[in-house]
């Protein structure tokens, strides 16, 4: 499970936790997060690849 960080606002998406508020189940890999999903905190789109790996395991 990895964590991804938004380069605009520093929000972290943790694959282990998912994003249940947005209907993304715990354990959802970054690749499987829908393309139209955007950063929960600042709205930066996934499609523009504003996320970087911060922790890989």
């Amino acid at each position: 499970m990895r964590k991804w960080r938004c380069v605009i606002c520093d929000f972290e998406y943790d694959e282990a936790l998912g994003m249940p508020d947005d209907g993304i189940a715990p354990g959802t890999r970054w690749e499987d997060v829908p393309e139209d999903w955007s950063c929960s905190d600042c709205g930066a789109p996934k499609a523009e690849f504003h996320m970087v790996v911060v922790e890989a395991a």
């Binding site: 380069v7 605009i8 606002c9 520093d10 929000f11 249940p20 508020d21 947005d22 929960s40 905190d41 600042c42 709205g43 930066a44 789109p45 523009e48 504003h50």
Partner: protein, 383 residues
């Protein structure tokens, strides 16, 4: 593809109007020329006269534009470099006015009210330039980020670059955000809270960012430090060029400039609040969490900043592509008129408290309410 080819091509009717933002920066210089031509000292105050009298009237007369660019046109709009250059061009104009003002303050013998008028006029320009810095600072292009900090240097508000994106956008319309004003909070109570809160927040964010990179907090790559550093360099150069007499001018315009940004912050989210979800996080920022204004005249002068609802819901969208949403709360005038209202708290409360209550169907437990009123309101509102 063929459907796109045959559909009548959408044209941006505001395309050339966006060029007006840059010459607005030169209005204090026009004021100086008018003083010369007429001999009337009043024209040292030309910029506030234009912004507080001409703009609200023009907003009321010209009215609103609720048209949105069709989604099919957005990608082309955002790729069109023309719109970026329309923003860049405002920054050299801002500096022309700042330097011209320092030259006047340093060389002309002005009465104190003329000196003050000059400093306030230039402060409005450097304050409006924070809207330019705002448009630039949202982009990931290093040139635009650099230009954003340059546009902030005259007001000494370099930390806005960090705080706005990583602080304000994350916490907007919550009680935790220093830059979101609360129902029942006057502008004069909001001002010290937001100034101190924004600085504290920016420093905390940069400190954490430097730690993650394994760098010391005091490092030139700390965006609060490198942006702040431009201000003493700029002020120092102007003092060397024109003498110590320009120092009060520089300080007055800086304080007036960032206070202008803060009064705009005050009216952008007044009383609006995001719901806390069972998970403890706040709901996503929706267009309903920012006050919107479609008044054409002031929107053109501020690069669409007043279409604030879409901006917060979609912060990477360029100003030329921002949309109006029917369900977002609407301000009754453009920013210039609303600023005048905010300066006069009883009037502000009379107009805006009613609007906040209407927005939440009378249930103020849903609003972002000043702590002083929170307990009082929670009692009868047991919906």
């Amino acid at each position: 593809m063929s459907a796109v080819m045959t559909a009548p091509r959408w044209r941006d009717r505001k395309r050339y109007l966006w060029l007006l933002g840059a010459p607005v920066m030169l209005i204090p210089i026009m004021g100086g020329l008018l003083v010369e031509a007429t001999g009337w000292s009043l024209f040292w105050w030309f910029m506030p006269l234009v912004v507080y009298i001409v703009v609200p009237i023009a907003d009321a007369l010209v009215g609103e534009d609720r048209n949105n660019p069709p989604e099919s046109a957005v990608a082309d709009l955002e790729k069109d470099r023309y719109y970026r250059w329309a923003v860049y061009s405002a920054v050299p104009m801002e500096y022309a006015t700042l330097i011209w003002g320092a030259w006047v303050a340093g060389t002309a013998s002005l009465a104190w009210w003329e000196y003050l008028g000059l400093a306030i006029s230039v402060g409005m320009v450097t304050g409006i330039s924070i809207a330019v810095a705002h448009e630039l600072g949202h982009k990931t292009d290093p040139f635009e980020q650099w230009l954003s900090k340059i546009a902030l240097a005259p007001t000494g508000y370099g930390h806005f670059y960090t705080e706005h994106n990583r602080g304000h956008h994350v916490r907007v319309a919550t009680p935790e955000d220093p830059a979101s004003s609360r129902y029942g909070e006057s502008f004069y109570a909001f001002l010290p809270r937001t100034i101190a809160g924004a600085m504290r927040s920016a420093w905390k964010i940069e400190k954490a960012r430097m730690q993650r990179r394994g760098l010391p907090t005091w490092h030139w790559r700390n965006d609060a430090i490198n942006a702040w550093a431009m201000t003493p360099i700029l002020f120092g150069a102007l003092i060397v060029a024109f003498g110590w007499i320009v120092l009060p001018y520089l300080l007055i315009q800086a304080v007036y400039g960032f206070s202008l940004l803060e009064v705009v912050n005050y009216l952008e989210h007044y009383g609006l609040c995001r719901k806390k979800l069972p998970s403890g996080r706040y709901e996503r920022c929706q267009p309903t969490h920012s006050w919107n204004s479609n008044h054409v005249f002031s929107n053109v002068l501020l690069y669409g900043l007043e279409r604030h609802s879409d901006h917060h819901a979609n912060p990477l969208r360029g100003y030329e592509a921002l949309r109006h949403f029917e369900d977002s709360p609407q301000l009754p005038n453009g920013y210039a008129g609303m600023i005048l209202l905010a300066y006069c708290p009883p009037l502000w409360f009379a107009v805006m408290n009613r609007k906040v209550r209407a927005h939440y169907g009378g249930d103020l437990t849903k609003a972002n309410v000043v702590p002083r009123l929170r307990n009082k309101l929670a009692v009868p509102a047991t919906a």
